[in-house]
Structure formats: structure tokens, C-alpha cells
Subunit: 347 residues, 2 copies
Amino acid sequence: MNNNQVLNERSLQLLKALVERYIQDGQPVGSRALSKDTELKLSPATIRNVMADLEDMGLIRSPHTSAGRVPTVSGYRLFIDSLLTVKPLDSEELKLLRKNLIAKDNVNDVIGVASRILSDVTRMAGVVTLPKRAMVSLRHIEFLPLSNTRVLVIFVTNEQEVHNKILHTSKQFTPAQLQQAANYLNSVYSGLSLAAVRKAVLKELKDAQEQMNREMLDAVQMAKLALDPGKSDEDYVLSGETNLMGFSELSDMERLKELFDAFGQKRGVIHLLDQCLNAEGVQIFIGEESGYHAFEQCSLVTAPYSINEQVVGVLGVIGPTRMAYERVIPFVDVTAKLLGAALNPKT
Amino acid sequence: MNNNQVLNERSLQLLKALVERYIQDGQPVGSRALSKDTELKLSPATIRNVMADLEDMGLIRSPHTSAGRVPTVSGYRLFIDSLLTVKPLDSEELKLLRKNLIAKDNVNDVIGVASRILSDVTRMAGVVTLPKRAMVSLRHIEFLPLSNTRVLVIFVTNEQEVHNKILHTSKQFTPAQLQQAANYLNSVYSGLSLAAVRKAVLKELKDAQEQMNREMLDAVQMAKLALDPGKSDEDYVLSGETNLMGFSELSDMERLKELFDAFGQKRGVIHLLDQCLNAEGVQIFIGEESGYHAFEQCSLVTAPYSINEQVVGVLGVIGPTRMAYERVIPFVDVTAKLLGAALNPKT
DNA sequence: GCTGGCACTCGTTGGGGTAGAGTGCTAATA
DNA sequence: TATTAGCACTCTACCCCAACGAGTGCCAGC
């Protein structure tokens, strides 16, 4: 009997069965139950030996002496990365997605629908970040005079979204001047991503103060003010948080409060989600992997979504570590793709 | 001993002491504790007699035979309406309010701050409705062409807030036509409340289809589309919900879920808050008085706030029935007044 | 009308005993 | 050498019960 033997086929099969069984009914899994679950005709005693090995490797643990075993975070990780057999998407779910995830006038509405579908279908919490401002591109910008030194700037982006902001300018502009400034900006920067516009604007201000004509300088100055990164970059739409109240893993009020506080703060959650912006497809944080204490009992299944093949945001599902990954993962994946499609401008 | 005797001075004094004591430490109050609490030098036995009377009148009840008494909703109601001695506002709290509740560019920011202060100071949940669209008045309206039949309408209201909306028009307009339409609307309707504008617009459309010139009719038509009641009328900013998780009254997960679901739905809460729009000052719902099952264990202390002496919204505090009314009531009152002040345009 | 005394009720707490689930270890087996 | 049966052991969950304490209602006396 070698303790540090590499994981063989049989051990993996048993680990898989154990995780599946535990996910299914939430009770620690004992050797007898496992012996009945698998096709391998093994006696509970043999399985106990294997389980002892798995425990040595840190893949499972037992809550106390006379309970069965439960997966550790490493156990879940191995299960998800190598053992999981994902289930194809339920056709009902797909129908629901296709029916509801269609273009709307308002980006926020689409995002809201996506979030709600995520939570309704999984019966956990759904989350969708707003498209990163810097990632979307400028379609049109316009200035409207409000009063003496206050100017309303309006810009439309390629996701058909209208943003507005009030600027306090250092001097007074005539409507004609504002019109001219807008014309200049539209002709030069239309089509570029806001990040690119912002970068170019800062460069222009630095380089060419002397050579530019007065009107253009004003225009660039205002563009700089207008494109200050908005707080929408730190926002998301969360749905079905209350679904999480039903799970026994989160029945501790202290923990639950901490989790909901994190939802309210947004900062931490956004930071976590941003880490998935550059992932290829679905990415998963299991329990403490997220690095946030509030999420210790939770897993997060995420996928980035794109507009015009440019990743602009992330969506995902938050639930207890013990969740039906084989169903959630493909669902999150497809939802991200369809959300991207719904946000893509037709023109 | 007459059961249905009118409440005399002494009974009221004892009821007051009982409610205060119960609010303070959350345990059913017994006759002995009450005998020590009050100045009236009465023996526990006498107090028991009075308590029996109060119970007959439905003002207090005992959870079980050998526990003390707790106030019923009627008991709280009587206490609040007639017996409560409100405490003057803590000077620290007032300072906090004055410091943070100042005009901002963005109405939502001010509302958010108000909500947060309400929850931070009371350590319960704070809620502030967004200003009712219909109640604020129109300052300026503008149309921008987007594409063929899509027009962006922008209007600024007297709370310095900018609203925008995309209209799908039946025909195509030139920029000049749009400009003319905006000019017409601004000259005729500027300064009126949105509700008034909407009413006038509908009237114009009905009455004078024939006599109006074409451009004005278009303008009015677009104004009608633009002023469709927005969903902002059904929105509020909630803060500190998680504070409610600490209270033993709400430790039942079922109940808590129901409450948080209600917060998420918004409809019910808005309906409840709207009932306070026409109240003179602070209004209070105790427990089941609200008529909503989810709020059965909660009280709601509200006050309307105004811009230019026109009531436009409501704010309040949500907490367990057992809350320190004598401090919450004046605090909500003052916060409403200061929020109104912060929203009032200077000009 | 108030009070002291008393019997009674009921929830809470903690101890003890048992049943059940599951383990680790050892010795036997293929 | 890998697997299995058997067995002693451990630990939790549950129930029962007794003791305790808080508080009540009622009555008799002041």
C-alpha cells in the first residue's frame, strides 16, 4: 500500500462518484453508499482504503470521525477540471434564452433580463456586469448648453446606449462653438473605443497645445472631461440573491450578512469578475479560491461576453460550492454568447 | 374591578414603561421588572392587575403563560401616538447630515447619500424614492436625430436632472424640423410639471388636430412619446438592508427571504411608500398595519420630501417593530427636510 | 384598592442513555 | 499482493427526564 501513489483510474472514478453523490444530496458520503453507487464491484472495505488515500492527498475530508467524506476545494477543482461530464443544455432553457434575450432599446434592460434568466434557471444568484465603458466605441457626441458655464455632453456608443454628463467649463461657450467642437470630435474620433479616444485626447492635449486652433483645443478639453471613467465600470446587475437564502451552507446569518454586504459594496465582486474578462471561456472560482472571505462557502461560474468580438463584460452565477456544475457551466457559457448577440448592433 | 374601564393615567404610564423597556432589551417584561422601573411605588401584584387589564384591551400580550408581556401592534400604536417623548436630534447626527447632504451634479448621488445616512445612523435599512417624474417640472427639451426614424429626446428638469430616451418615430425628420419642434415645446411648456405637460399634450392632440400646423403637431406627438411615465416612478434607493439580518425578530430565514424578495420586487414597497406622499409629516406603519405579509415583523417610519414646496418623493427607515422610535422619528423628519433642501435648485 | 403569599404553568438547560452511521484495523482469502 | 469480512471503536443526533427559574393568577388580609 503506497500512500503517495499517483491517482489511478479507479480512485478518480470513485472521487467522481463521491462528488456527484455529495452534490446531489448534500450529506457526507460513506463507503457503503459509494460501493452501491459505482459499477466497480468493490466492497466498502476496499473503498475505505481508497478514500483514506484520497484524504491523504487532500481531495476529500471527513467532518468528524463517524461521518462520511465530503470533497475539499482541491477535490472539487480536480472534479471540474478533469472528471466532469457536462450535460447538454436543456431545450426548454435554450428556448427561454432565445425568446427573452433579444435586442432592446436599452442596454440595461437586456442586461437585467440576462441576469434574471441566470438566476431563475439555476435557482441561484445571477450577475452580469455592465459593458465596460472603455471597451465600447464612440458613435456620436454632442454638446448642449445648459447655463453659463455648464454644458451637457451626450454621447452614443456602439451598443446603442446613450450616456450623458454635466460638465462645468472654465469659460462660456456659444451654441455655435459647441456645435463646432462636437463636429470636430465626431469627425476625428467616431468609431474608436472610448479608451482609445481618451488616450488620443490626452496625447493631443500634451503634444500640441500650441499648434491647435482654439476651438479644437476646447473640444478636446471637453472630451477629456466627458470621458472620465464613469462609475458604470464598477457596476453590475444582480438577481436572485434571495435564492441563496435557501441553502443550508449559507444558513449562518453572520456569513450570509457578509455575503450580502459584499454584494452591496460591489467593489470586491467587480474585482473578482474582472479577473474573468480575459479568460477564454467559462471560468470557475471554488470557495476560498476567490480570495474573498465572504465567498468562502460559494462558487462562482463566469463567462465573458462580447460586442463585435470585443470582450466588454462578464456574467455568471453565484451559488453554494455544492452546485450542479455539469448543468450550470454550459448554461453560463451559452448565456454569455447569446447576450453578446443581443447586444450587437444590427447595422 | 371593572375590566372595561377607560385607560387611566396610571395604566398609560405603565404601558409606556413596558414598551420602553421592551424596546430596550427585547425580552418580555414581567411585573417585577416594571415595578422597579417606574416611579409609582407599586407592588408587582398591583402591576399584574393592571397588566391583565391592558391585555384585555389588546394592548399587550404574553407569548406564553410564564413569560412577561410584550406590546401588540395596538400597544405600539397607542405608545407612538400619545405616549412617546421624542428625543431631540443628536448634534453629531445633525452635523453628519449637514455635511453630506449637499447639492450634487447628480440627483441620484444625493438620494444615495441620504439613503446611506439613514441606514448608517439608525443601523437599520434606509430607503429613499426617486423624485416622481410627474412632479418635477420641465426646464428644457431637445431632440437629436440618431438614424432614419430614431430620435433621441433629452430633457432637463428642475432638479437639474437629465433624462434621455430613444423614440421610434413614424416618419423621418430633418435636424431643422427637430430643432423647430424643440423650440415650440420649450416656449410653450417650459416650467410646467411633467404631469401638466403630459396632460396638456394629450389635450392638444385630441382637440386641435386640424388647426395646428404640421410641425407643432409633430412636436406634440413626440412629446407624448417622450413623457410616457418612466419606470423611475417605481424606483427607490435602499441601503443597509443587511443591517436587518442582525435582528432576532428576522432570524427566521423564510421571513427574511420574503422581506428581501419584497425589496427586490419594488412594487409593493413603492406602493407602501406612495401612501405617505400626501401625509403631512412623519408617518409610521407598524408590523401588519402595512398590509404586506413580508413586513409583518417590521415597522416603517417615513416622511415625504419636497422640491420647491412640491412633494416629490418619500424617504424612510425600515426596521424591526421593536425600534427606538423616539430617536428614529425626529431623524427621519429632519433628513427629509434636508434632502429637500439639497435638491432645491439654487437658481 | 393595594399587597404578600402561594400554588401553578411553562420554557430552558443540562445530564444520561441509546441508536445509528461510519470508520480503522486485522486477519482471512483469492 | 490486492481484496474482503469482521469487529471494536468513535462520534453525532435524538430523546427523555429532572431541575430550575421566571412569571403568572388568585386569594386572603390589611
